[in-house]
Amino acid sequence: MNHSDVQDHMADYLEGHLPLEKRALFDAHLDDCSDCRGEIRSMQEMVTLLRSLPEPEVPLGFSESVMQRVHEAESRVSWLESLQAAFRLLMNPRVLAPVSVALIALGIIGGAGEVEKALVLEVPGGSLATQTLPADGAVLAGIPVPSRSPKSAVARASAPGANFQIRLQSGPVRVPEQQTPHLINPIPLNEFSQYARGFRGGVVKDDVFYDSAGVNLEARRSGARMVAVPSRARAQEKQPSAEEWLARLKRNPGDFASALSSSTLAEQELWIANLARHARQRGELPEIIAALRQSPNRRANLLAEDFEAASRTQDSSAYR
């Protein structure tokens, strides 16, 4: 055994993981070599130092603080998740056909059939979905409803002062037969999400919908951008590729960052990781990070750091 062997096997020797024969050879070399003896001794001392570091004490009230954040997240997530899931369901071309049928259930378009999921606006005495007629389309708390006046439907279905809820209904939902499929493109994702975060149901007063904060939902609705899109055409619409997303990001980093911030943390991580990988493969990562950093949008500036972090993580040389 020589110096190089000692280097190779030092860790195993220190931990006692060397087979007996090798250990004997190792010991024999140490007997003759003061350099290696010194190295082993210093390594032992160093490891002892490391292992004798005092354990950091957990901050006072740490678990309470974690649980507080968990409870806050839970109350926020239940609404956000259901409405965001509903939104994604509507916007995803892969489920557009069934959703179009689901909209039939809402009375936006006529027809009959059965779908797996539908958005149902519930009020005492019945659901808005079955009370309304096909119409040009509108948005109520992110959920498409007929513009033919939801208040009249509610007036028929509920007494003034009744509370209402919006829920995503799973399981077979019986709907009329499809005739003229339309998908209502609700308010932009960011606006929707911001609103959905605070949405806690609402109340009907004087035949008008108010949310729990007392905001007239019809008034809110009237300010939203609404576009009716033939569902078939939209279903064939190609999802933007990674390149297109990167182009959008470079073109307007602030909008991209704002839109992304409405996603869940897990979704954000996925987006950032994927786009960072694509950008790096195309050699565009520095450009993307610079665009984000130079944006006047604070979220975009923070996103620049996320892209850098994702890039570092993906750097295989660091960990693989």
Partner: protein
Amino acid sequence: MSFEMVERGPMAGVERGNSSSRRRRVVIEDPDAELIRAWKDGEDGAFEQLVRRHERRVFGLLMRMMGNREEAEDVAQETFLSLHRHGRRFRGESKFSTFVYRVAANAALNRRRTLGRSRARVDKLAVRHAAGDDLPYSPRDPEDATAGTELTAHVRQALQRLSPALRMPVVLYDIEGLAYAEVAEVLSIAEGTVKSRIHRARRALRVELKDLLGVKDEEFSP
């Protein structure tokens, strides 16, 4: 590898990890299994018990990795929130503690200021700092209490100078007391890679700490 041989190594008398509960070479059943079941069943308080049970190891690891209490606390909170969000999918293929370490290690390596949330956290810390409210930490932290001891401070600083790729394995193995296989699982790298990184980390640390080790300069070859 026999247990007897492990005991006969030169470092055999130097216990790894700071707690006796950290060393577990053979585990028949996950000690957290019951709590995890209760948590998945929606039992009140089960997740909080898991937090309490693992907060020490998570915070310990993150302190070594981040080198700063505020940062470590922030990432530790993110770790548990992430566990709460995604942990119900834990299928028991590894020990829960290993899973927790993995989430914490990823959180440390991916340290990113998540939009909005960390901004609020930073603002909160700034307010607390401005109010001079850092007292809850200082007197209770044994590491700070011994910070005056040059030795501890030097070792901590030396650790911080290591790259994360070397620091993480050596912290998990030498300080947290995980087995090679567990470190490999936490970091999703081969066991051989773990060993070589620990060795490289130790060598780098030895160079950093040579003045404290009382060994002649010529004995060091980084």
